[in-house]
Symmetry: C2
Subunit: 389 residues, 2 copies
Amino acid sequence: MDVTISQSTFERALSVAGRAVPSRATLPTLTHVLLQAEPGRLKVAGTDLNLAIITWEEALVSEPGGITVPAKPLAEFISALPDEPIHLRVHRETWTLQIVCGSYETAMKGLDPEEYPILPDLEGDGFALDPEDFRLAIDQVTFAAAADETRPILTGVLIRWEEGHGGGAGGAAALTLAAADGYRLSVKTLPVLRAPVAASEPGSTFSVIVPASTLKEVGRILKGETEPVSMMVLRGRNQVGFRLSRAAVLSQLIEGQFPDFQAIIPKRWETRVEISREALWKACKALSVFARETSNAVRLALIPGEGDQPGQVLLQSRSPEKGETRVAIDALVEGNRLEIAFNVRFLMDVLEAIEGDWVAFEMTTPQSPVKVLSVGDPSFVHVVMPMFL
Amino acid sequence: MDVTISQSTFERALSVAGRAVPSRATLPTLTHVLLQAEPGRLKVAGTDLNLAIITWEEALVSEPGGITVPAKPLAEFISALPDEPIHLRVHRETWTLQIVCGSYETAMKGLDPEEYPILPDLEGDGFALDPEDFRLAIDQVTFAAAADETRPILTGVLIRWEEGHGGGAGGAAALTLAAADGYRLSVKTLPVLRAPVAASEPGSTFSVIVPASTLKEVGRILKGETEPVSMMVLRGRNQVGFRLSRAAVLSQLIEGQFPDFQAIIPKRWETRVEISREALWKACKALSVFARETSNAVRLALIPGEGDQPGQVLLQSRSPEKGETRVAIDALVEGNRLEIAFNVRFLMDVLEAIEGDWVAFEMTTPQSPVKVLSVGDPSFVHVVMPMFL
């Protein structure tokens, strides 16, 4: 291998692929990154066997070939080098990577790339997705997935396809993404730019469960991406792949049956409030200080307007040790007056996931699931359980 | 107490005074801040009994008085409020602080301010110091103080005054600051704008040892200060005080005898190098990646120039696991060729403390203390022990 690549390009590639590299592993080669010189480009890859991230960056390749080297020290060292061309050469007798940059000369110990796991190429027909739409969908859904592994299925995001049941604007072709942790549920419909041939047949359906952590990594890499992303399911390997213009992410799927989330979404309401997302978020942030000792509980009183008076949302949190705080926010309140309590962390999470200026809450009783909507955006639905006080 | 103060001002005061508040304390009142309304201003103070930080901020005071409230929740809550006037009122029957800001209404549980430690006023004659000079001196000296408590005296900074032995530019009145941790020593002379009357008598001397952690806090508060700072020693209380325009820091002194640091400073050299501070720092940063498994050791070869050839500093670090790296930097090398090794962390520390573009190292043998100077700045001297390899 004999490659010349710019320092900033190499630094970026190592930072992207490095996110899949475990800090410890029983197999030493897994703490390495794979460097593979192909005609005109350098491939940099990392994997923990569940998740793999592969990037390709433009490089001057005089001689193809590869090596693996410890990921963290290499990334740290390359980021400390001056922004000049870096010359990489492999000595195969000792599996040493020679790194020359300006007046720096370095020999780094590596391993034979043959010992590295084989990462399949992501060729083939997939769902083409707009990168910005997909990034937003990931942000709006993954936060509702479970963080603990008690029920592994809930650490995943359901991605479902039903030909002819798009659900997106005007019933266009769309994927449905859903995540739930037992206390809350996020559902998002994501337009499909182009469906693969196999999925385009009438009545064609499928669903997979992708680890939320995988999708968060995909979301991170999507920042700044301008080309459509291709999502493909590798059925034989029980894997899902995401192909970007200069990177690919490959991940194991989670096996099992995702809960019937449609049944959880409330179909009617007795009280509905439309409120400024920013004002409510700021109030939650301030009140959270007083909510710590009471399991993050905040109480809301939803008071419909009368005559010229606007409706109001009164928020209150109380700590036996610190005291109590309350704030009133003008809002459009329809239906019955209602008092209800929430985990303030859950409220803040969904308010951060929504992009619009106005958010709607649809409620029936203080003990029933609450529907949260982004006003004017039918593609997103959230459900959150109130707290019982 | 009945006070109106702007949210941003109150937030800043709580953040400054809060740095002296311990997160846990056997005496509950110590985890509180003291709020004391005085004519035209609100005093906010925190202390852990070793260190006290007091700030005064402009406020509309309708009724003087005071209270103490838990420092962390109050600071966190105030920082979450909108930037509007905050109205503070104390209910003495229950020692409750009422906080009203916009539509927020809060009652926070506090304690009688009589239970709070008495913090003496810092009135009287002190050393007047330029705030920017003092901040720089603190940065250049405190990093060399010991972090561990094995020898408590070394966690302090010696501040010494000898009338007529200024040591500063032109022998003007100056304080000497020194800190050492057994491996390195930093000495700085700091001009005095005005000495107190008692210290102005011929032959007058004194020295105190101030905790380095105290000086770091003073340095933090000094950012943005434009007025001279007054340093005064409260002999009867074994304390030192620093009076700024809107804040004061009060600290216990460390008792004991500071090592004779003058004896440690080398008086002559066999090899002297002048080198770009930035180039050397960057090289240290890159080489540090390979120095982790060898106690952070980097080797330097100092090679004098010959004829038209400039001198060079060759740096090298080697890890039995990762490999090795080397870099050459052009430099002005006088005297004998020398090979020597340093803890790269110590090199980076002193390079970060120096402000000038060029740094000089004066050496005799690979085992002798090395003098480090900022070229063109006689007010700073550093000594670092080489590593024995």
